[in-house]
């Protein structure tokens, strides 16, 4: 994918997420001006970025959103939940488009209708037209609608024409050929009149550019009448009007022709008049830089006229003078150089832009000043307007429009220009030029630079995740490589008999070990992220779901700043969502019932994160109806999860944990949200996958508390190495409870199961060999004792009979790849110091 697009997708995802969060927060504090401001900024930025691509659907919706935010921030309307709902809908739509773009590189045309709908809904909030929509209406009399404005409603026809065509058109215009914009809207019944609109349009004389648009959003295929013409043709032509009239003589009423100003057909990006261009001989500049030249020159003039704070005045003046020098250079005006310098010197003394402005007027005239500044600027009469009268008569009022990008320099008709002018006058900022600044004020006030330095403390780097993963892998290899040193030392001593060298290697190992550990720690730190990342979705989720269910639930998030490894935090996200949904769906009562029970009608759901030693603890607590153990038992029995015998002896505490069993659901009906009996099962699996544990506490009528314990990081696993039948295996230390030696005589046969008594309790024993399908019997040591590794899971303890225990080791566990993925007996593999592979056993499978 194009890197720019990739960047955009990443940026929009971030932005959409932030929008969601801010909207949530605004529901609590709707009057927080800062939040509104932030919201506006994000939507605005997103819209701006989307404009770089051809995603009209996306831009349309975002634009409407931006307009809405703009009125919101001006407090013309107030924030309501409905508004938030609609905005969220719109943002979901944008997210959908992003997904689509990511997967297939484009947006399906089918979204057009929906985007129009969403945009309209957003705009319907806007009571008063916005600044920029206002300029839309002010634009050359819309009633003429000669310009088929693009569906965004504000694109100037020439803007939508490719750059190359535009400069071609400009060239033709300079040669004296008239340019026209033709909009041909064939009669919808035209096919029955024997007309061929496409042919007619293509035969238009002098056509430079053409396009075909749908007049309205496409209906769906079923209702599309293929025999009606629903298209319109737009063309840019360079020819005489008379030829056009002749060409379209049979369909005159279906064609609108707009003629462009012969002198300046293409919109210059700014507002310098023709007369000024003549005065400055800009024709000496390469053509495509002329517009820029005019724009820049006019910008300097505006900058000089505008009043500014005295503090940065000198800097501003110098920058302007520098730009003027560059402009003079561009047209090869050598004589200008000393003049600009002189004017600058004078300006610096006066602390005013006036000398520079005077100089500028000397060159380009100031005819446009008279209209608006006669009352305030004495220099308006300094130099008379050059007498390029006829043209400047039209263009003059357009000069210095504050909204110049909008004001077409196409002269359409006198009346239209008039209307543009009046529109501009009203919105013209009443800035007064030539404010003279006193020196004293300037010297006050500390220089910002110094103060700014003080603020610039925290620096954050955004690093690609892949890079960190790479670091992680490298340190993993390092840990493994360092493990080779003790092995080497042992070989040096045993095999080669050089004890001295062995000691040196061991010393070296100690220092490498320390560095590697620190490094590993540092890299882990980089991977740490706050759990708030996983929590972010909850305010929205809780709000949407609880509303849907007609329940009132207040969400409290605590300890969001608690940090854990990125993988852990990410793996948290889904199980948490399941649990929150379950809690909302089954846990909380409706407000009526709550009231009847004497509980506050609004339930409270608390999600709390905290760190305990090397674990992260997540608690999800609700004050709902709790889990009824008898109900759970009955359901579990009905579903065949437990048998009659278990049903009778299972404790209440054990019973409620049955909700985590696969295929369990207590909900009477399967709801949209949960109740399919997969939720809690998924939760358990997800938590176990990252070596976490789950616990549940519940009091009927009071509520439920789910406690998830997760390791801080799962990158490095401590394993115990055991030996059986001549092979070695690793067992994760977090399930190893103890290692004991059991004499052969102490092993009893209980039915089909071996067992022993360990500290007064019966411990079931299983030979690991049996589990691994190895035929060899377990080997006792010389005292006829068996090595038993006591492992634990939530299902109790088990003693694994192995041949021998070995050391424990830090390893980076890698998941089994390709054909081995189906082997449930192993949770992964790791590299050992001597380069051999260690298989890590999945102890849970043995119970």
């Amino acid at each position: 994918m194009n890197p720019l697009l990739k960047e955009f997708l990443a940026e929009s995802r971030d932005a959409l997420e932030s929008i969601g969060i801010i909207l949530m927060r605004m529901e609590k504090t709707p009057d927080d001006a800062q939040l509104v401001e932030e919201l506006f900024r994000i939507v605005h930025t997103l819209k701006g970025s989307s404009g770089l691509f051809q995603f009209p659907e996306m831009t349309r919706v975002l634009h409407a959103g931006e307009d809405l935010m703009s009125v919101l921030r001006q407090r013309e309307i107030s924030f309501t939940q409905l508004l938030a709902d609609q905005l969220l809908d719109a943002m979901d739509f944008v997210a959908l488009l992003c997904d689509e773009v990511e997967s297939c590189g484009q947006v399906a045309a089918t979204h057009s209708e929906q985007s129009v709908l969403l945009a309209e809904r957003l705009r319907s909030w806007i009571v008063k037209p916005l600044t920029d929509s206002a300029t839309n209406t002010d634009r050359p009399t819309a009633s003429e609608s000669v310009f088929a404005l693009d569906d965004l409603g504000e694109v100037h026809p020439l803007d939508s024409v490719p750059e190359a065509i535009r400069s071609l058109a400009e060239g033709r215009a300079k040669e004296g050929v008239q340019l026209h914009w033709v909009r041909y809207v064939p009669d919808s019944e035209c096919f029955f009149h024997g007309e061929d609109p496409l042919h007619l349009a293509r035969q238009t004389p002098g056509i430079l550019y053409g396009r075909i648009l749908a007049r309205e959003p496409w209906p769906n295929l079923v209702s599309l009448d293929a025999f009606r013409c629903v298209l319109e043709y737009q063309m840019l032509v360079a020819t005489d009007l008379s030829l056009l009239v002749e060409h379209f003589r049979y369909v005159t009423e279906q064609v609108r022709v707009t003629s462009f100003d012969p002198f300046f057909p293409c919109r210059p990006s700014n507002d310098l008049g023709i007369s000024e261009i003549h005065a400055w001989q800009v024709n000496r500049i390469p053509r495509h830089e002329q517009n820029a030249f005019c724009a820049i020159l006019s910008a300097q003039r505006r900058a000089l006229r505008v009043e500014s704070e005295p503090k940065g005045c000198e800097g501003r003046l110098r920058a302007i003078a520098l730009v003027l020098q560059h402009c003079a250079k561009a047209i090869g005006d050598e004589s200008a150089k000393p003049k600009i310098q002189q004017a600058l010197d004078a300006a610096l003394v006066l602390q005013s832009g006036k000398p520079l402005l005077d100089l500028l007027h000397e060159w380009v005239g100031d005819q446009d000043l008279t209209s608006e500044e006669s009352e305030s600027s004495p220099e308006s009469s300094v130099s008379p307007a050059p007498d390029d009268s006829s043209v400047s008569g039209i263009l003059e009022p357009l000069l210095d429009s504050p909204d110049d990008t909008k004001s077409p320099v196409l002269s359409i008709s006198d009346t239209q220009v008039e209307s543009t002018i009046s529109g501009l006058d009203s919105s013209f900022p009443s800035d007064h030029p030539e404010g003279t600044f006193s020196k004293s004020t300037r010297e006050e006030g500390p220089k910002f630079g110094r103060r700014a330095d003080d603020h610039l403390v925290s620096k954050t780097l955004k690093v690609d995740q892949e890079k960190i993963d790479r670091l992680m892998n490298l340190i993993g290899e390092m840990v493994v490589a360092k493990n080779a040193l003790p092995y080497l030392a042992k070989r040096a001593e045993d095999h080669f008999g050089v004890r001295e060298l062995s000691r040196e290697i061991k010393a070296q190992h100690a220092s490498i070990n320390r560095i590697a550990e620190e490094m590993q720690d540092a890299i882990m730190q980089v991977r740490m992220m706050p759990v708030s990342v996983a929590f972010q979705r909850f305010p929205r989720l809780v709000r949407d779901v609880s509303r849907q269910l007609g329940k009132n639930v207040n969400l409290i998030l605590e300890g969001e700043e608690t940090e854990a490894d990125k993988n852990i935090v990410e793996s948290l996200s889904d199980p948490l969502i399941h649990m929150v949904r379950n809690s909302l769906d089954h846990g909380f009562e409706t407000p009526e019932i709550r009231r009847a029970l004497g509980k506050p009608p609004t339930g409270t759901l608390t999600i709390r994160a905290s760190q305990e030693a090397d674990h992260v603890l997540i608690e999800i607590q609700d004050d709902g109806k709790g889990i009824d153990p008898s109900l759970v038992k009955r359901k579990a029995f009905e579903k065949g999860i437990i048998d009659q015998a278990q049903l009778e002896r299972i404790s209440d505490r054990e019973a409620i944990h049955l909700v985590f069993a696969a295929g369990f659901s207590t909900a009477e009906t399967v709801s949209d949200l949960s109740g399919r009996g997969v939720g809690m099962d998924v939760v358990r699996n997800a938590v176990e996958k990252v070596h976490g544990t789950l616990a549940l506490e519940s009091v009927v009528g009071k509520g439920t508390l789910v406690r998830i314990t997760l390791p801080l990081s799962m990158a490095v696993t401590k394993v115990m190495i055991i030996e059986t039948d001549g092979q070695i295996f690793g067992i994760p230390m977090d399930v190893v409870w103890e290692t004991v030696r059991v004499a052969r005589d102490d092993i009893h046969q209980v039915q089909h199961q071996q067992a022993t008594i360990l500290r007064g309790k019966v411990l079931a024993l299983k030979p690991l060999n049996g589990f691994l399908n190895l035929d060899a019997p377990p080997k006792p040591n010389q005292d006829d004792q068996f090595a038993v590794l006591v492992v634990r899971s939530e299902n109790g303890s088990l003693g694994l009979i192995v041949d021998n225990f070995r050391e424990t080791l830090d390893v980076i566990q890698k998941p089994l790849g390709s054909v081995l993925t189906g082997l449930n007996s192993y949770s992964g593999s790791a590299l050992m110091g001597n380069g051999s592979v260690l298989m890590i056993l999945n102890v849970r499978e043995m119970f």
Binding site: H44, K47, L52, S269, A292, G312, E314, H326
Partner: protein, 138 residues
């Protein structure tokens, strides 16, 4: 014409013109950066006014291309502070969407020398940049 074109065999070392892009939108930054870098400028970016100011104070740029609406310190604020520094008097382009330029005067008041409306077309951008940097020669 373009100074950079003199770089070559045996030519004296020519410093690339340095341009600072200040914009909070990553996509826009990248877009402008691509255009300018392809044209042979040394481009740096900053995501808000504070960061931009820090960079400018470290080593001044030949041109600043500044977005209006940014968190922490917006474009206007950045330019105002930029203009208070004696060494930072290079031209500055304000870049933003049309809606924001209803208030173009304040852009000029804060020290902008030029402004462009997003989305900026590559040719247009380069024409402005070349002129502002004094690289267009009659």
């Amino acid at each position: 014409m373009n100074q950079n074109s003199t770089i070559g065999m045996g030519a004296p070392e020519v410093r690339l013109k340095r341009i600072l892009i200040v914009d909070d939108a990553a996509t826009v930054r990248m877009y402008h950066r691509q255009i300018l870098e392809k044209a042979g400028y040394a481009v740096e970016v900053a995501i808000n006014g504070i960061e931009a100011l820090e960079k400018a104070l470290q080593e001044p740029f030949d041109l600043y291309m500044v977005d209006v609406n940014m968190p922490k310190l917006d474009g206007m604020g950045f330019l105002r502070r930029l203009r208070m520094e004696d060494i930072l008097q290079s031209p500055a382009i304000m870049v933003s969407t049309e809606a924001e330029f209803n208030d173009a005067s304040s852009a000029f008041a804060s020290g902008a020398n030029d402004y462009l409306v997003k989305p900026v077309k590559p040719q247009q951008l380069l024409a402005h940049v070349r002129l502002l940097l004094g690289e267009v020669d009659a």
